[in-house]
């Protein structure tokens, strides 16, 4: 019942952001016990009396695994200029909003305290209008929204996922979402992978996206952005990673039974490492022919990381074209 995918992810430690894996074992016994109970549940005809144990285990896990909760937050501990800018934007917007929001807490607390009935404070039952106050409560939020609007306008343009992510020669990648794995094609390099995206650090890359199944959403926490991948359509996302790291990405748009496992590994490597990887991929052999691709898609399952020395050129466009049929007459 375990997720093969998860096992794979953990094997590749040190992961990025650094996983708190070992700490989870603090929960050791409890986790195992709980999983056993849960599994028996799934198998139907669960023997009675187990649910008490499950509840106990549940509480144990809660208490014992608290240290793990200090897990990294990719949205804040970013590894790329786009993600960094997005995080800063979030922070700036929060600070701006604090101007109107903090007073709400203060005023609510103060008023509830001061004007509770038992305190018999000043009572003005007919007071219901004050021009200065009205001007302030319309005016101040308006100013803040204008400031935020300015942020929105400029940053939406500067962080446009369709714009190249900084200087340098762009690495082109094509990604096809399938059930329930990602196929990555590197048209410039001629190699292809499944469920692994390898990119050089500090160089912009562009991922053209499409889907060979229902709508998917492509997202790498810590690198930034998220864009839909849709059948018969081509979208794109431009990203850039700062330094070498092991990261992960996934589909964020529910797509069926295998959705939970639709994660892929992201390896950011140095320029030399990237060359080495390409040569390694070239040498490793394996061809993603149309037929091989077709078979892979048909499987409707998650898949282990695979590397292909070649792929049939034009595969990406063919996948798009497949859905651009005209209505029958």
């Amino acid at each position: 019942m375990t997720n093969p995918f998860a096992a794979r992810l953990r094997r590749n430690a040190p992961a990025w952001p650094p996983d708190a894996g070992p700490a989870a074992n603090l929960a050791g016994f409890a986790v195992k016990r709980m999983h056993a109970v849960a599994a028996s549940f799934r198998k139907r005809g669960e023997p009675a009396g187990r649910s008490g144990l499950a509840a106990l285990a549940f509480v144990l896990v809660g208490a014992a695994s608290l240290p793990v909760a200090a897990a990294p937050i990719p949205l804040i501990q970013t590894n790329g200029p786009i993600a960094l800018e997005q995080a800063r934007l979030m922070r700036d917007a929060l600070l701006l909003m604090a101007i109107v929001v903090l007073p709400v807490f203060v005023l609510a607390g103060t008023f509830v305290w001061r004007y509770r009935r038992s305190r018999q404070a000043t009572y003005r039952p007919d007071w219901s209008f004050s021009l200065p106050l009205e001007l302030a409560i319309w005016g101040i939020p308006t100013c803040i929204v204008i400031a935020l609007g300015f942020l929105v306008w400029t940053r939406t343009h500067s962080l446009d996922p369709y714009a190249q992510a900084g200087p340098g020669s762009v690495l082109e990648v094509q990604a096809i979402a399938t059930d329930w794995k990602w196929v990555f094609l590197y048209p410039g390099l001629g190699v292809a992978t499944v469920n692994e995206l390898v990119v050089p650090a500090d160089r912009p890359f562009r991922i053209a996206l499409t889907s060979d199944t229902v709508m998917n959403a492509f997202f790498i926490p810590g690198l930034g952005g998220q864009i839909f991948a849709m059948a018969g359509m081509r979208t794109q996302i431009n990203l850039r990673a700062t330094s070498p790291a092991e990261m992960w990405g996934r589909n964020m748009q529910f797509s069926g039974n295998g959705f939970y496992g639709q994660e892929f590994r992201v390896r950011v490597v140095g320029a030399q490492g990237f060359d080495a990887w390409r040569q390694h991929a070239r040498a490793a052999g394996g061809q993603l022919t149309r037929a091989a691709y077709g078979a892979l898609v048909k499987q409707q399952a998650t898949a282990p990381v695979t590397t292909y020395a070649r792929f049939d050129p034009g595969l990406f466009d063919e996948v798009i074209a497949k859905y651009r049929t005209e209505p029958h007459r």
């Binding site: 804040i76 909003m97 509830v112 319309w138 935020l148 446009d160 930034g224 952005g225 069926g256």
Partner: protein, 675 residues
């Protein structure tokens, strides 16, 4: 003969699903047995099911909402427990069942909990507040109720026969298309939404007509209680927005059933059109859900601060501004589609503009507290809890409105946290406040306050524990709708979230106990004066529960807070004199609306299972019943002036006895009722 229906439809694929089906069937059987044993069938039919009275219909709406709330809440509990244990394991729910659960939870909460709840509250309160005898179209009102109920019944049926959709409450094709989801699930979803949607649309039309035409003399628009304003705005939104949803689901049904190509992947279909239509309804919908709650909070905060609401005109203007703007922002639900930065920035800014009137409202409520005399009964607690918690949701909403920020948290549990942060403290707490506030008016006795307060504290703390961790998890990259995961760092937070839901469950238990205790002690809690809170609007001037005609002589309104002002002037219960009384007509009961609802249910059920003849039968029955109604005469009943006069005189005399000195002044009635 039976279309796709066969023995395979039984839910044997998961013990949890089988148990749920068992509980549903047993529940229905239990109700049937109970009614039979206590010989209550005739009573039920005569007094309730066929009634066209706005108060009774409102109560029935609320009952539907509460029953469905129980189911959707249990589903949330299951989802939370699953995610708490599903680190690197399958948890206890089969994958597909998990997907059904988040779909039914979301769809039910929106269509069969909040919608009927707010429609029910408006039904009970609106006519009383504007001094009307009923809604403009009582029979249409019953149709709305029975269509909504038919939709709810269809969702309940899906527990027992077949499986519900797994495509989420938003049901995006092509996942919900015929190729990927060939089963009955999406059809259940489509038809449940369609029935509920039509029900809501007719209710909206009815409310608008009522407010426009049936206000008491002197009740200008700017003298209306704020709850009426929000009811008006919500109804306008319903009427303009719901057709988009009905069209979207109907087209999807055509795609699925007859091979059309509106939203298919191939042959020129475009699923983004569905997404557009869906959110064209979907964004106004969130305001539909929240505005009546805003209205209720306005009434509650003013009443329990014992003072006028601050900035009435501002609140009205802000409400209407929100209503208009809500149609200009739908694209923020799919910033990640890959639209140009101009488009995204435009919709991002429009979304933030809505934050202004919303913020204004919050401040208006705060200043209503200022220099008041605050009483913390259950409704007021919900209002204060709302004020403080809601702004957190507002802040995260503005964050989501910034396209580059949205890219990083879209579809994550951050989004889940955000909208629960709006809908639970906003909408649901608003309905709980309204429920506690107006319960005595609708039913005749107050709800037990101690259990109400306990329920509130569990809900509030449970809410924080259940949803604050999700903001963090969203920032850790956790997707929504995840059945299991491989990131150990997520688990402790998910366990905390599950603990939060346990707290909420304690709150639900308190609320059930509250209902029981209040019913048991109903004599002690009886609202003899009709004005248990020292109320401000006209609904408190009539008896609790009000007579079938509400107002024998319609009140003349000279100011805002009409009843409060008349109490101050000592004219709260005027004697208009025998000559002011005229015969009035109230609608006779009609079983036709019930029949139409069930005919619609049959049609929907047959369409789901593709049983052609049965669908034709259901369709024909609904149409013929409507035609039949148009030939009916004698649909109203005359109530003679003398009866009305006697009733009013009796009530005035009773009030005199209740209040020492025989004089009814400001607050006197209230203190008379509260020991």
């Amino acid at each position: 003969m039976w279309g796709r229906l066969s023995a395979d439809a039984l839910p044997v694929y998961s013990i949890v699903a089988a148990a749920a089906a068992g509980i549903a069937v047993l529940g229905v059987l239990a109700v049937i047995v109970l009614l039979t044993v206590t010989h209550r069938w005739t009573w039920l039919w005569r007094e309730w099911l066929t009634s066209l009275n706005h108060r009774r219909i409102g109560i029935m709406y609320v009952i539907v909402a509460l029953v469905m709330l129980l189911r959707a809440f249990i589903e949330a509990l299951l989802i939370r427990v699953q995610q708490a244990i599903a680190y690197d394991s399958g948890g206890f729910l089969p994958t597909e069942h998990f997907a059904q659960l988040f779909t039914t939870h979301g769809s039910i909460m929106i269509f069969f909990v909040l919608m009927p709840f707010l429609t029910g509250m408006i039904n009970v309160v609106l006519p009383l507040q504007i001094g009307a005898r009923d809604l403009a179209f009582p029979w249409l009102n019953a149709i709305g109720l029975w269509l909504t109920t038919a939709g709810a019944a269809l969702v309940m049926t899906s527990l027992v026969l077949g499986r519900f959709s797994t495509g989420g409450w938003s049901g995006y094709p092509n996942y919900t298309g015929a190729i990927v989801s060939p089963g009955v699930g999406p059809d259940y979803w489509i038809w449940a939404l369609t029935l509920a949607g039509i029900g809501s649309t007719v209710a909206g039309i009815n409310f608008i007509a009522t407010i426009w035409k049936l206000r008491a003399p002197g009740m200008t628009l700017m003298r209306m209680p704020l709850f009426c304003w929000t009811a008006l705005c919500t109804s306008l939104l319903i009427v303009f927005a719901f057709p988009a949803l009905t069209v979207a689901t109907s087209l999807l049904w055509l795609d699925r059933t007859f091979g059309f190509h509106f939203f298919t992947q191939t042959d020129g279909g475009n699923m983004m059109q569905f997404v557009n239509l869906f959110w064209l309804w979907g964004h106004p919908e969130v305001y539909i859900l929240i505005l009546p709650a805003f209205g209720a909070f306005s009434e509650v905060i003013a009443t329990f601060s014992q003072k006028k609401v601050f900035g009435y005109a501002s609140l009205v203007f802000a409400t209407m501004a929100i209503g208009v703007l809500s149609f200009t922002v739908w694209l923020h639900h799919f910033f990640t589609m890959g639209a140009s930065p101009n488009v995204n920035a435009f919709f991002g800014i429009m979304t933030m503009v809505i934050a202004v009137p919303t913020g204004v409202k919050v401040y208006d409520w705060l200043f209503t507290l200022y220099r008041g005399r605050l009483r913390f009964d259950t409704p007021m607690l919900y209002a204060i809890g709302f004020l403080v918690t809601f702004v957190i949701g507002g802040v995260t909403g503005v964050l989501l409105a910034i396209p580059p920020v949205d890219y990083t948290v879209h579809n994550s549990v951050f989004l889940i946290a955000h909208f629960h942060n709006m809908l639970i403290p906003g909408s649901l707490f608003g309905m709980f406040a309204a429920f506690n506030f107006w319960f005595p008016k609708a039913v005749g006795f107050r709800l037990d306050d101690a259990w109400g307060r306990r329920g509130f504290w569990f809900w509030l703390t449970g809410f924080y524990a259940a949803f604050m961790p999700l903001y963090l998890l969203g920032m850790m990259g956790m997707s929504r709708r995840l059945e299991r995961y491989s990131h150990p760092g997520w688990q402790p937070w998910l366990v905390l979230a599950a603990f939060g839901v346990v707290l909420i469950a304690a709150g639900v238990v308190c609320q059930v106990i509250q209902l029981y205790v209040s019913w048991r002690d109903r004599e002690a809690l009886r609202d003899a004066t009709g004005d248990p809170w020292d109320g401000r609007a006209l609904e408190w001037s009539v008896a609790s529960p009000p007579p079938e005609w509400n107002f024998a002589v319609r009140p003349r309104v000279r100011s805002r807070d009409a009843f409060h002002e008349s109490k101050v002037e000592g004219l709260a219960y005027p004697d208009p004199g025998r000559d002011a009384y005229r015969d009035i007509f109230v609608p006779r009961n009609s079983g036709l609306a019930v029949a139409i609802g069930w005919a619609a249910y049959v049609l929907a059920f047959a369409a789901v299972w593709r049983i052609g003849w049965l669908a034709a039968l259901g369709l024909a029955a609904s149409v013929l019943l409507v035609i039949w109604r148009s030939f009916q005469t004698g649909t109203t009943e005359r109530i003679p002036a003398q009866t009305l006069y006697d009733y009013d005189r009796g009530r005035r005399e009773a009030l005199m006895r209740l209040v020492p000195g025989g004089e009814i002044m400001h607050g006197a009635a209230a203190s008379g009722a509260r020991p």
